[in-house]
């Protein structure tokens, strides 16, 4: 019960975002089909390059990926605690070095950054060099694939792209689906 006598039901915690509420709560795009691709991540390459290079050759600019298990020579990850600056509700921590790690399972999204370059957003469960099982946001440019290729199931997103754009409500740049202008 609240101090003013209102009976409180069990409910999830909501956070007040720093920016104005956007009435569009689900921003979506769809396509009649997706191309399915099995990718092998090349040993010695960064996770970023091992995803971006082969998909660029296939002209895939947007994709959703499942990264199956595999070893990394080195890997850094971030967690997302409350933003110490208070600009947003949370902010990524400084990269945490996991060392020689095993990625147990990962999901990744290929999109286009604000600078119009490829962007890979990846979250994964890993076993770190010390043996701890941890999870978080993978720094794809600093994760180096180990001695063996790692399988990835890719589903391409056709007819629309994922662009990183500044989100006024959260004050964070996020991937957003956007229709491709076929007249360009």
């Amino acid at each position: 019960m609240t101090p003013d006598g209102v009976v409180k039901r069990k409910q999830p915690r909501f956070l007040r975002q720093p920016g104005p509420f956007n009435p569009i709560r689900i921003k979506m795009e769809s396509s009649p089909f997706g191309r399915h691709i099995r990718l092998s991540l090349k040993p010695g390459e960064t996770l970023f390059d091992a995803i971006v290079k082969p998909l660029a050759e296939l002209n895939v600019r947007a994709a959703s990926m499942t990264i199956l298990g595999g070893a990394f020579e080195t890997l850094d990850y971030c967690v997302a605690p409350p933003d110490p600056e208070g600009d947003a509700v949370v902010a990524y921590s400084k990269p945490i070095t996991a060392g020689q790690s095993y990625m147990i399972f990962g999901n990744a999204t290929l999109g286009i950054s604000i600078e119009e370059k490829p962007l890979v957003h990846c979250h994964a469960v890993i076993r770190t060099e010390s043996g701890d099982v941890m999870g978080g946001h993978i720094v794809t440019e600093q994760a180096v694939v180990g001695n063996n290729p790692i399988s990835v199931l890719v589903i391409s997103l056709e007819g629309f792209e994922l662009h990183q754009a500044y989100d006024e409500e959260t004050k964070i740049s996020l991937l957003q689906p956007m229709e491709v202008d076929s007249h360009e």
Binding site: Q11, P12, R13, F14, L15, Q17, N22, I24, R25, I26, K27, M28, E29, S30, S31, P32, F33, G34, A62, S64, M65, T66, Y77, V79, A80, P81, P82, A88, V89, V90, I96, F105, G106, N107, A108, T109, H121, C122, H123, A124, V125, V133, M134, G135, G136, H137, I155, L157, E158, F160, L162, D167, E169, T170, I172, L174, L175, Q176, P177
Partner: protein, 141 residues
């Protein structure tokens, strides 16, 4: 249990991607995405994002409450099946990481998983040869 279908043949259909906004319930958000796209049945083909807090079903019937923010979604698997009245019903399980990176896993509970910053989710429509609701045979194309 006599109506239990052990094998269901079909094919994949349309693909939908969504960014779901803060404070929306993850499960309801995915169900509404199916409604909006006209998907009767779908599989989650990829998802990542963050939750304010997470609520998972424990093996003893208790709720595993993972305190955020943010609780990162590091693995999400599941499907959406429509009930006879057309209501899409999502069953989602996965692994989340708390603000220190410690991981927890299980079935996500309806109403306990509000989105923190964003949820990126890709769904692939599942088109069974025989509609599990009406049991009518769909013409193969």
């Amino acid at each position: 249990m006599s109506d239990l279908i052990l094998v269901e043949s079909g094919k994949m259909g349309r693909v939908a991607y969504a960014r779901i906004a803060p404070n929306e319930d993850m499960i309801l958000g995915i169900e509404k995405l199916c409604l909006a796209q006209g998907f009767k049945h779908a599989f989650v083909r990829g998802a990542l994002g963050s939750l304010v807090d997470a609520g998972l079903e424990g093996s003893d019937g208790k709720i595993i409450e993972v305190k955020g923010p943010a609780v990162e979604i590091v693995s999400l698997a599941g499907e959406v099946r429509s009930e006879e009245n057309g209501t899409p019903c999502a069953s989602l399980s996965g692994v989340v990481a708390d603000p220190e990176g410690k991981v927890y896993g299980g079935l996500f509970l309806l109403g306990y998983n509000p989105i923190c910053v964003t949820l990126e989710v890709t769904l692939e429509e599942w088109l069974p040869d025989v509609d599990p609701v009406s049991r009518t045979v769909r013409q193969r194309q």
